[in-house]
Amino acid sequence: MATKAYLVLDDGRVFEGKSWGTTGKTFGEAVFATGMTGYQETLTDPSYHKQVVAMTAPHIGNTGVNFEDNESHKIWVAGFAVRNPSTLTSNWRSSGSLEDELVSQGIVCIQGIDTRALTRHLRDRGAMRVGIFSDMNMTREEMVIEVRKSPSMAGAHLVGDVSTAKTYIVPAIGEKHFRVAAIDLGIKHSTPRLLSERGVEVHVMPFDTTFAQIQELAPDGVFLSNGPGDPATMNEVVDLVRSLLTAEIPIFGICFGHQILGRALGFSTYKLQFGHRGINQPVLDKTTGKVEITAHNHGFALQAPTDDTFTTVYGPGEVSHISLNDGVVEGIRMLEIPAFSVQYHPEAAAGPHDAAYLFDRFTEMMSTKRVDA
């Protein structure tokens, strides 16, 4: 039987619901995700590490969980808030119920809250610290105080928690054309898979890999993955990327990796009011004028000039993609050296596959580079 549970925000607003998943308490940054499908991918996306995710879609868990759709080896969210969890799983691929999975991984969740009101609150006041409390004998004031004691996302260095400890290899499917070093800042399973489908042998390497180690591998290109935390804390990886840029090794970054490439080029990052977390986000490819519907999951963004090309110590570059919703920088590329990145998720798990062409762009870049050499 579900007991009373509370979702308590930093600013003192409390939502009352019922417990779900594991009872207890948990803390993190409150964010909302607007995808109507893909909760399993969301839960297992390392970028959600230390975040309490509220799903705007009201029914969650309908299709249970399955073996194929995990984006990593575990659930990363710090907590999960939903309106109506499903009590029955219905899908031919399902291997179990979502609630069982949440319980077995010890995820504290809350159900039955007005998730739309929560979303509007976060939209208007910004992402903030949050706690979920169930089966606790605490007053509201005590809960708010505990939330305010929890760490904030700004300045959080979380990559160490999610990155692989040692390098592993995802072999190319079919004939091997390229070798890529993928720096794991919180990589999702889909990314190496999509690369391997394009004849890429992917070496997934820890976040603290050195330039020498990469040189030793002699990859055709380097991939910078997505990941959690504040990009401002990532000085070591930024330095690594600068070495890669100097060496003109082809670079493709996504999400967190995009922010790091941006920082390596000399731009700063800033925290968005409530971030982009959804799978319906329109992005304009400034080169082609085409719009792609993309999957987003970012709370930070890059500060870069969008109206013209920019110059960096590595040569000229430009903002290649922008969000049509709010004008946020969604992609950059260098014009004379092989490096580009996007803020969104071309691997799109969950999400639409409109941006999968970027992986082709990366392989083309690697082959051009090779031809040049």
Binding site: F32, T37, T56, H59, N84, R93, G278, I293, L324
Partner: protein, 1089 residues
């Protein structure tokens, strides 16, 4: 890319009359198209034969042609108007087929007009099944195994290869017309035979059965820069086998993982690109095997569809409006999202609520029709509901249907046998299958048992189990706690349902609920799950924490819509509601619409200042009123425009303290309650046909004998003549009462003297307490006894004398005054032997208001809304909303003709249902013909409704005894006009006596003759007859007449069942023979003095 400035004028093709499979969703889409085009400064030329539409209001186009949507008329309009482009993707299959016909006859090429939206090649690729299959294969999708057939023999061979059951789908038809599932060769012959006839290209597709698979639909949009978005995914609760229009559907899809959904999305993108729909919307249907996930692409519509309207209402993404902008050159990212104001239309809406659509059927109108649901659409309307959970949305949707059988119930003490019977009957999908499912689960059937009987996804079955489990808790003895009551409301239980579970009254529950302050909040449909602020107040109720209703300072007027379309209450009432909203908005009131019909213009968030997508029940309306009273001043509620649905709520709303604007509930009762109305007539010195009110069988017989047969019998308080019948003797009266009524003192039955051969007259008028404005006097073409909704009528009247007109005006004023009308009143009169009888009065907007408004140019519904808020007719005359003096005056001659859905229904034996008119309304829609002469306007109305009348050929005539005399003149005229007459023996002999030569033909009951002479039915079925005149004897289908009429319907041969209609047809044919063929825009007609 911005606006294509080479397009200076566009011809928009509408969808014609409301028929099953094509309803007012195309008024919604067409109205949006017209608005968009005009806002861009483009000249809009519009063609639509349906006068009940908003789009045909003169202010929505520069030139509005209320003309038949046929290639001939369209060509003439193109020749006159010389538009740059034709937009045919927003008028349903009718418009698309018309555009293809224009292409095929070379009209487009001849006048240098291009198709925008989808070009000819794209339409062909999307609609031609062979081409489409190739495309599906090319993009890596799978189609069901299938074979194209052009003859019945082909079909038989193909079925052997595919194995029964096989699905039959004719090409180029709408709403699945002519399609079905055949389990054996006999059924195949029936279904494929009809399908071959209905398909304009005479081809059908036979397909492997994917019965029971999950069914999904994606709404896709593409712009000329090749940007593609999915607006909405819709899942059918009813698996494959039931037409999607007849299925309960849900948005978003509930039972797909992201991986599976993205597969459908990827396929949709590839298909729309390959088909080449350059700009605009289309929908693509998929079947998914529930065990393996195998995906079959079923079909696509390269145009805006019924599902697009649903998707637009479900998401807040206005597909038709955007499609129009794309068609004139814009790209998705250049178009702003109306709701957020800051984000572009190049995105995919995300929902933080659940939408459920449920179909509304009318099988009770077609007693002999097969009630099984198949791949041919049979529903006449739909209701949609929005909730924060599936169960909430579902239960709201079910009560939105206004069917007492539809909402879930929890009967006690049912034996095991009931459960078993339900498990058996639910195997065959029918109107109430979901109710059967709920009842079976309630009685202990397991999810697996119900799943194997229905293949409804277990997730939905579990949701219903949860509702049932909640019912147990509610019904349990003890206190109804705050938590329990709140969670019941969150699951969508109505106060009535909770009350019946608790054994108390609805008012008791409501009082307790309000005492505990458990009231709904109103959330917003905003396309983006609250990611961005919404500026469009499009609301739905939910029992949660936070309401989004904004405070306002302007006084509000709440307008209640008419709910799901049904026979007798359709688009005409939506028209009046929308007019009221426009007018009151212009007068600086905040207009608030409440309705639950996703097809309508009234539920476009652009129509009113605020939209509440809510069921039209007392509870739901009271809560909206309460919420709005918290938000600012509320003047009151208008109930007289949406038909019987809101009218039926007026008294209870008033009793709950709500101000009813316009005609008071007491006045409504005075007109509807026969005893009271009789007194009004008596006081005013008016006569009605003798009648009586019977509360028992015996009493009914006594009344009938006193007033004399024939009598018209019906239950009181009905709309659309439901359950009405003309009976000629005691035996049939007894039969009717047993069959069609639950007669009790609370449910009395009306017995009226039926006036044989009277002329029936319909009047729409406005009254403000002092002055009467007579909007129009319509004369029915069929004599009294045919329901006014099914009868053709003409304005101005053709046979009434000026003195009779004066009498009618006086009688109308007396009734309006006597009843106490404030606003619109519709009165039906009958003129028999120079006596004016009052048949009935309805103190509300009628079905004919839009027709009269179009014919006279006077906006009656707007005026009614003004009177409701206190304006006088004198004031409205002064400001020009009504003519400065005098009554409504028809410009030209306008004929309204009803459109009947005979070809949609079959009996369980597979034969057609009887196509005979009667006192029970059966038409789904109407058309208007306008011209200088009666003959031409009648002929236009027939062309628009059924197809052209013949100019020459063979006419089959079979007249009932009572009609023989009046049939002589028109028969003679036809003969003189060169037609060959063929008649049954009795009719032929009668005609011969009057010097008219007719060939005698054998009745079907006589069988073929000795030398193989064919029967009338054979002749009709073989296509040798061009016009059928067959008047039936009383009610009760005599086998011969029925076979003749159904054969005519199946062959699409004009079939006329009254002598008055016969006379009108002769006038129409004469007009055709004279070569009268004019088109003229409504704006020109209305400019005539």
């Amino acid at each position: 890319m911005p606006l294509d400035t080479s397009i200076k004028s566009v011809l928009v093709i509408g969808s014609g009359p409301i028929v099953i499979g094509q309803a007012c969703e195309f008024d919604y889409s067409g109205t949006q198209a017209c608005r968009v085009l005009r806002a861009e400064g483009i000249r809009v030329v519009l063609v639509n034969s349906n006068p009940a539409t908003i789009m045909t209001d003169p202010e929505f186009a520069d030139a509005t042609y209320i003309e038949p949507i046929t290639p001939e008329y369209l060509e003439k309009i193109i020749e006159t108007e010389r538009p740059d482009a034709v937009l045919a993707t927003l008028g349903g299959q009718t418009a698309l087929n018309a555009a293809m016909a224009l292409y095929e006859r070379g009209t487009l090429q001849k006048f240098g007009v291009r198709l925008i939206g989808a070009d000819v090649d794209a339409i062909q690729r999307g609609e031609n099944r062979e081409l489409f299959r190739d495309i599906v294969e090319k993009v890596g999708g799978e189609s069901a195994q299938s074979i194209i057939c052009r003859t019945l023999e082909d079909c038989m061979t193909a079925a052997e290869l595919l194995n029964y059951p096989v699905v039959v789908r004719p090409s180029f038809t709408m709403g699945g017309l002519g399609s079905g599932i055949a389990f054996d060769s006999l059924q195949l012959e029936q279904i494929a035979g009809a399908g071959l006839r209905h398909s304009p290209t005479s081809e059908v597709l036979l397909e492997e059965s994917i019965l029971g698979w999950k069914e999904f639909e994606l709404e896709v949009m593409r712009d000329q820069s090749d940007n593609v978005v999915i607006v909405c995914g819709i899942e059918n609760v009813d698996p494959m086998g039931v037409h999607t229009g007849d299925s309960i559907t849900v948005a978003p899809a509930m039972t797909l993982t992201d991986v599976e959904y993205q597969r459908l999305r990827d396929l949709s993108l590839k298909i729309i690109r390959e088909v080449g729909v350059d700009t605009g919307g289309c929908n693509i249907q998929f079947a998914v095997n529930p065990e393996t996930g195998r995906i079959i692409v079923i079909e696509m519509n390269p145009r805006v569809s019924r599902s697009s309207a649903l998707a637009s209402k479900a998401t807040g993404f206005p597909i038709a409006k955007i499609a129009t902008k794309l068609a004139i050159g814009y790209t998705l990212n250049e178009i702003q999202n109306d709701i957020t104001k800051v984000t572009p239309a190049s995105f995919e809406p995300t929902l933080d609520y659940v939408v459920v659509k449920v179909p509304r059927f009318a099988f009770e109108k077609f007693a002999d029709a097969d009630p099984r649901l198949t791949t041919t659409m049979k529903s006449v309307g739909e209701a949609m509901a929005i909730g924060r959970s599936f169960s909430e949305a579902l239960q709201k949707a079910l009560r939105s249907l206004e069917r007492k059988e539809a909402p879930f119930t929890w009967p006690i003490d049912q034996p095991e046998s009931v459960k078993l019977a339900l498990l058996a009957s639910m195997q065959i999908p029918t109107e109430y299958r979901l109710k059967e499912v709920q009842q079976a689960l309630w009685l202990g059937a397991t999810i697996e048992e119900v799943y194997s009987a229905t293949r409804i996804d277990r997730w939905y079955l579990n949701q219903i189990c949860e509702i049932n489990a909640h019912a147990v808790e509610i019904a349990a003895p003890g206190e109804l706690t705050e938590d329990l009551l709140k969670s019941a409301k969150q699951m969508g239980f109505s106060d009535i349902q909770i009350a019946s579970l608790r054994g108390v009254s609805e008012e008791d529950i409501r009082r307790q609920r309000h005492h505990l302050n458990i009231r709904p909040v109103y959330k917003t449909v905003d396309t983006c799950a609250a990611e961005f602020e919404a500026f469009t107040p499009y609301h739905y109720s939910s029992y949660e924490e936070e309401t989004e209703v904004r405070q306002r300072s302007k006084p509000a007027v709440i307008i209640l819509g008419s709910g799901p379309n049904r026979i007798g209450q359709g688009i005409e009432f939506d028209y009046s509601c929308v007019h009221a909203s426009f007018e009151l908005h212009d007068r600086n009131y905040e207009t608030i619409m409440v309705n639950c019909n996703p097809e309508t213009v009234s539920t476009d968030y652009d129509t009113s200042d605020r939209l509440y997508f809510e069921p039209l029940t007392l509870e739901d309306v009271l809560e909206v009123v309460y919420a709005e009273m918290q938000a600012g001043p509320v003047m009151g509620v208008i109930t007289q425009l949406g038909g019987q649905t809101p009218l039926g709520l007026a008294a209870a709303l008033k009793a709950a303290g709500v101000t009813i604007l316009g005609t008071s509930p007491e006045a409504i009762n005075l007109a509807e309650e026969r005893g009271a109305f009789g007194l009004v007539l008596k006081e005013q010195g008016l006569v009605a046909p003798s009648f009586g009110m019977a509360s028992s069988h015996q009493e009914a017989l006594e009344i009938a004998q006193r007033i004399g047969y024939p009598v018209l019998v019906r239950p009181s308080f009905v709309l659309g003549g439901r359950g009405m019948e003309i009976v000629y003797d005691d035996a049939s009266l007894g039969g009717f009462i047993t069959r069609a009524t639950d007669i009790t003192p609370d449910h009395p039955v009306l017995v009226d003297r039926f006036l044989d051969s009277a002329i029936e007259i319909d009047v729409d008028a406005l009254f403000d307490g002092h002055e009467l404005f007579l909007g129009g006097v319509m004369e029915h073409i069929e004599e009294a006894g045919i329901h006014s909704g099914d009868s053709a009528c003409v304005i101005p009247s053709m046979t009434l004398t000026p003195e009779q007109h004066v009498d009618i005006r006086e009688a109308t004023e007396k009734i309006a005054r006597g009843v106490g009308v404030s606003g619109l009143i519709n009165i039906q009169f009958a003129m028999a032997d120079r006596v004016l009888y009052v048949l009935e009065a309805n103190p509300r907007a009628s079905r004919t208001v839009p027709f009269v408004s179009k014919a006279t140019g006077v906006p009656l519904a707007k005026a009614a809304a003004r009177i409701a808020i206190g304006s006088t007719i004198a004031e409205l005359r002064e400001e020009g909303l009504l003519p400065a003096q005098g009554d409504g005056k028809a410009k030209g001659v306008s004929v309204k003709e009803a459109v009947l859905p005979w070809n949609r229904f079959r009996r369980t034996d597979g034969r057609g249902v009887d196509a005979v008119l009667g006192p029970e309304m059966r038409s789904t829609g109407e058309v208007m013909g306008i011209a200088q002469t009666f003959g031409e306007s009648y002929s236009k109305s027939q062309i628009a409704a059924f197809g052209p009348l013949p100019k020459s050929g063979q006419v089959f005539i079979s007249l009932a005894g009572k009609d023989k005399a009046s049939g002589v003149d028109p028969a003679r005229a036809l003969s003189e006009m060169g037609f060959g007459l063929i008649a049954t023996a009795g009719t032929a002999a009668y005609l011969a006596e009057h010097g008219i030569k007719a060939t005698t033909v054998r009745k079907n009951s006589e069988g073929p003759g000795l030398f193989g002479e064919r029967t009338a039915v054979d002749l009709i079925a073989s296509g040798s007859i061009d016009l059928v005149i067959n008047t039936p004897v009383g009610r009760g289908t005599r086998q011969d007449g029925w076979l003749i009429r159904t054969a005519a319907v199946q062959r699409s041969i004009p079939c006329i069942t009254t002598t008055a209609g016969f006379n009108a047809a002769v006038a129409g044919i004469a007009s055709l023979q004279r070569g009268e063929f004019s088109v003229r825009p409504l704006q020109d007609w209305l400019a005539d003095a």
